[in-house]
Subunit: 328 residues, 2 copies
């Protein structure tokens, strides 16, 4: 029987998605239906030099292929995602968020060389865009073409899909929603030097910082040694009034940020992921309530607010999807 080049030994189209995170590297084997067939992970380790990272990625790819009785020849393409500033068109990571010394690293070229492939077989995507691709493929946004994803953690990452296509902008910087200005001359937050940005009010880190700043002695939170965002949500659920106020205020800022997403790009669906999304429906209900309150009176609220569903594998699934889309 003839074998199609670049596909599994039974003719199945196969892709590897690599999620190159701050502490972990994961590689997943994914088919054209978005089914994750296998996964291998390892710590990033201390040696962040590009050559060392490339070696670790190669080892993980081989592990996941072996575990599924496949070889490198079975792969149609490989996608890699990572946080940071990058040019997905040229395949260059301009500045990695969590990898020391990564400046202008031609990651696609290096990976292609390592595997003895054409560069066109390797795709680079930022991690939030990859997560959105995963959600739109097999996750909470499957079948939907106008989507915003907000990843709410240390900061707020954003990704935008319009008419089924990732919105990139002129320099690949579209969707930096966490850095939009929501309170002119407001609180300082992070290292970008701009006061009053969205993630300074509505990220997990911002909630924790705000909780500590104005802590009243009668709040149950004041008994904790270090207050984290999840504590605020837990204590609010248990009835603490200060924590409840913080949750409501956070939901208000999230709602304002979502309204601005609607005004700029008019999505059908806004997805929440990241640490804060773990607060689940308690958070969503409050964000929806505040959204309604600040929504214009020209029409009823039509955008849907939901939790993302692809979970911790969103990055590698989306990286595989990016690789698949690049082969069209």
């Amino acid at each position: 029987m003839g074998k199609r080049p670049c596909s599994g030994n039974d003719g199945e189209r196969l892709f590897v998605g690599v999620d190159l995170g701050g502490t972990t590297i994961s590689a997943g084997l994914v088919n054209a239906e978005g089914t994750l067939l296998g996964i291998a992970s390892d710590a990033v380790g201390e040696d962040h030099r590009p050559h060392a990272i490339i070696q670790r990625i190669r080892a993980l790819v081989e592990v996941v292929l072996r575990g599924n009785s496949r070889t490198l020849e079975d792969l149609e393409a490989l996608g890699v995602c990572t946080p940071g500033l990058m040019d997905s068109r040229s395949g260059v990571v301009q500045a990695a968020a969590n990898l020391r010394g990564w400046r202008e690293v031609p990651l696609v070229e290096l990976l292609a060389e390592e595997f003895h492939w054409e560069a066109s077989k390797v795709t680079l995507e930022n991690d939030t865009n990859a997560a959105l691709l995963a959600e739109a493929w097999t996750g909470a946004a499957a079948g939907i073409k106008h989507i915003v994803l907000l990843t709410i953690g240390t900061g707020i990452g954003g990704a935008i899909m319009c008419d089924g296509q990732l919105l990139r902008g002129s320099k690949g910087q579209a969707g930096e929603i966490g850095h939009s200005i929501l309170v002119p001359d407001g609180r300082t937050f992070g290292g970008a030097g701009v006061s009053g940005i969205f993630e300074g009010y509505a990220s997990c880190s911002a909630v924790a910082i705000r909780a500590r700043e104005l802590m009243p002695p009668d709040s149950s939170l004041s008994k904790l040694e270090a207050v984290e965002c999840e504590d605020v949500f837990k204590h609010a659920a248990a009835g603490d009034s200060y924590a409840t106020e913080l949750v409501q205020e956070t939901a208000k800022y999230l709602a304002l940020g979502c309204i601005n997403c609607c005004r700029f790009v008019d999505p059908e669906l806004i997805l929440f992921s990241g640490g804060m999304a773990e607060a689940g429906d308690a958070l969503l209900t409050e964000v929806r309530r505040q959204f309604q309150k600040y929504h214009w009176n020209l029409e009823p609220v039509r955008v849907k607010l939901k939790l993302a569903s692809a979970g911790r594998n969103a990055g590698l699934l989306g990286a595989a999807r990016a690789a698949m889309l690049s082969q069209r």
Copy 2:
């Protein structure tokens, strides 16, 4: 000699663009290079019934064709633009901004019937999108693919082009930048019921309102019977310190709005049009200064801020361009 159907009698491709404004209707004959060959205008008049408006449009189209020795048969397509809420895909004006009683008017269908054409020969576009199409065709944004246009007048209209395509969003509402929230729980403005929106701080109307609110008796503006936006700019240029302060504050809010455009959609160029753009370089210089001040430190400012150049004919030129693009 054979004659191509749907083109001028010398084979030139010809389009009519109609700008259906609040007080004036204009029709322009435009060729495929974006040259305006002729224009005819008339007052909208008191009778806003769709049938009456359609008749006026037909009369203007015939006037402009006759003036150029052309007939309806010479036209490849017709585009019409108007302010308001509309679905350009279905050709229905949901709510016109300035035409009484216009609710769910199937403008494309009505025009096609009037001219005995297929509906595919008629295109509907909102006026800000049309203006952006004109700028990208032959105006200040020619050759640029990632553009935001801000029309600063009574409110702030917005239009976004990404990768050469108008960004429409899931319900045709993308680019409603004037309604994005810039100051949570800030000043009320307009009829949409949302406090703190961008156009409540940076539109011409907002400048005039703010000027009157806090007028100190020693300002030269206090001598005027009714202060309008252009007075504020004139008196600032003449050295009045209150007017100068107002101009600086307006420029600051415009800069913040422009930064948010960059964070959401990352344009290469932001264009200013509408009444406030008449303040010209005096305004732009101050907006650029404030933009620099509030810009993140991750990279130097790369977006360009410029005045739109298509002027009062932007709407009909862009409507003709929309018609032309629809025929591809």
